[in-house]
Amino acid sequence: MAFVTPESISDKYDVIVVGSGAAGGQSAYTLSMEGARVLMLEAGRKYDPRSETPMFQTPDMAPLRGAGTPDKPFGFYDATIDGGWSVPGEPYTNASSEKGRQFKWWRARMLGGRTNHWGRISLRNGPYDFKPRSRDGLGFDWPISYEDVAPYYDKVEMLIGVYGTNEGLENTPSSPEGVLLPPPRARIGELLARQRGRGLGIPVVPAHRAVLTRPLDHKRLPARLHPGNAKAQRILAEDMQGRAQCFWATPCGRGCSIRANYQSSTVHIPPALATGNLDIVSSAMAREITVGPSGRANGVTWIDKATGREHHASARAVVLAASACETARILLNSRPAGFPDGLGNSGGLVGKYIMDTVGASWGGYIPALEGLPPHNEDGAGGDHCYTPWWLYKEQLAGKLGFARGYHVEYTTGRQMPGAWGDYAKDDNGRTLYGPKLRGEARRYYGSYVVFTGRGEMIPNADSFCEIDPDVKDKWGIPVLRFHWKFSENETRQVAHMQRTFADWLAAMGSVRKDQPNPDGTAAIEPGGSIIHEVGGTIMGSSAANSVTNSWSQCWDVPNVVVADGGVFASNADKNPTLTIMALAWRASEHLLGELGRGNI
């Protein structure tokens, strides 16, 4: 079994997995390693980072020096292909043209999806994050707690490899001994931020990122991950030896040909394929789930993008891992008998409560970092340090004026110059040029620090997606129409971020004179910008308040499992990818049990 065509698929699948990113990759991995026969549908093309990653290419080898364009929004060398906030032939709409009321929807039509280019930041939700309503009365509690998910965070961290440390900070869980890999040394700007943050009460600790700072322990980990499963252990041990440790060069956003970081296409898919239990059809645009006479799902209908022809495959269960909004779209477009408003939508909640991460930044030149002797700061191709949310007590005491927190990521240092660079400050109102520009560019290079806030958005009734009654994509599939609104909790949080960052930069010696706008509505990144789309099929304690149960199964159709961020009942400041994988592993394990027990 391997990459197959619509004509060569089998008729004996246990599970169809729609999507191949963090959720689809993890689901296909867990299911196939434990013996289930899986068909994966991927809307994009086959993609192999081992041969397609531009590792050491410099910007002068790329058009426009690698600058971002509508074809490649994060630049020519970004790993995303056939993706972005707009995908040719695959539109979506927004209901309102009013400022701040739109959602930008990122798709990545390729094997591995968004995991190919993501920032690799891998943070666990903490205990508070699963019970937010119990703490402050806003949003929803999850029907599960941190303790339910913790064993799966452990497994995912061991499988993909995550560097970081256990710092014992509030609502920032530790991993068991021996799970995390050692973090890289801090860069000079990160050290300065740490020293000067201390006076402001802001902690700086090692980041958690899915990058191998040393090889995975292929002798010990496979047995912990697949106890009693000799075949899975052997496959994983072999695969882990095929992943090299980071060689401290090239940005992770390009992907990694030596498989030193996590992307579904290098970490989940290869061992899953090696089991012989996984088939993958690429260019397969899922349209709807089909339902049999029993009222249970019995397969998926998709369009082959190469031919425009419709195909169908059958299975005992369907795992939706298409990204939160695409999953809602598939459910809403599935209208078999008995489900006039869409599959799983008897409560009218499919598409409701979509969330993104709250984002804003502030940066400045730091004179202390100017003119430093050249040294290599490429490091692990992303953040070495970060700041977990640190004001829980102040917030609980009502001192902040907004609910829910943010963590801070930093951009510092002597990174590879790019087309987005700002190479010199100006000289008293004059555009600097000539020999003076050369000298000043040398002096300023590496001295610019940007703090970026990534905060929690509370789900609200004004942020949702539905089927646009008038618009179809080029495959004839009805598209999504978005509704969006941030609340004051988010805009005030953004104002707090920027004020904090300005104070922090000042403590580091920044001479930036302008001040952030105290009105956060001006600075908040538009909905969808941070590409942390979650919600839309949220999990809950009953069919009345949610789409999925605590095992990520649709209440209406228990053999349909949502493995992606759709099930998130809240969107903690922690980047969602690690939690998506942990929940996908957990849901897949439960599904295996149900299949084995004959309940599905």
Binding site: E52, Q57, P63, V87, P374, N376, R430, R438
Partner: protein
């Protein structure tokens, strides 16, 4: 949601140039300005799945569209912005004019907007050079070229006579710097020493840590 909308700025900023430039230059540049924007609209980009492993050079993905006169003016001006320094090549030595041409000829909105600014600016530079010195900018003496660059350097108030040339010069400087510092020579000059595989990552050198008084911070 589909991209590639050409910014509505084009016609308006073209008219701004016509106000800023002398009447003769305006008549010369007006038709070509709008024509160039239209040409950029019809060219194709590199698409959403280009071969990222293959090195390319300006002109490979879309035709270069600066006129010979514009190329000469651009080359002369980028040599002023980043001249060679001893053995270190300047903007001309690393092919920045090709990059500038690729940039302003690209069929994407940001670049199409820069096209208007750059073509208008180069036309103004030549016209102003002829008015002041009696020759095209590239044919003026080194001193004359420097004089004109200096005239564009100060920030100019919106609506003032020099507003458009000043905005042009700033953007031209930024593009030249991008074109220069993203090359191996430019990176070296800046002090970028990465993009090489290493066995270990040891963090900042001890002398750098000490200089910033961060010795205690290194101990996590």
């Amino acid at each position: 949601m589909d991209a590639f909308d050409t910014p509505r700025m084009d016609r308006r900023s073209a008219i701004k140039w016509i106000m800023a430039a002398g009447a003769g230059a305006a008549l010369l540049s007006r038709g070509r300005l709008l024509g160039a924007a239209a040409q950029a609209r019809t060219a194709k980009g590199y698409g959403t799945d280009p071969d990222v492993m293959k090195a390319s050079k300006p002109g490979d993905y879309w035709p270069l569209t600066l006129t010979p006169a514009e190329r000469r003016a651009a080359a002369a001006l980028c040599d002023i912005v980043l001249p060679a320094e001893g053995a270190v090549p300047g903007a001309l030595g690393v092919g920045v004019p090709d990059f500038l041409d690729e940039w302003v000829s690209a069929p994407y909105p940001e670049q199409a907007s820069d096209r208007t600014l750059v073509s208008g600016g180069l036309a103004w530079v030549d016209a102003e050079s002829r008015r002041r010195f009696g020759s095209a900018y590239a044919d003026a003496s080194a001193e004359q070229r420097a004089t004109l660059a200096a005239a564009m350097s100060p920030e100019a108030a919106d609506g003032s006579e020099m507003a458009a040339p000043s905005a042009f010069f700033r953007r031209f400087r930024d593009l030249t710097a991008i074109g220069y510092y993203t090359t191996p020579d430019g990176m070296k000059d800046l002090g970028y020493v990465g993009n090489v595989p290493l066995a270990t990552f040891d963090g900042p050198p001890a002398d750098v840590v000490e200089r910033l008084g961060l010795t205690d911070e290194v101990k996590w």
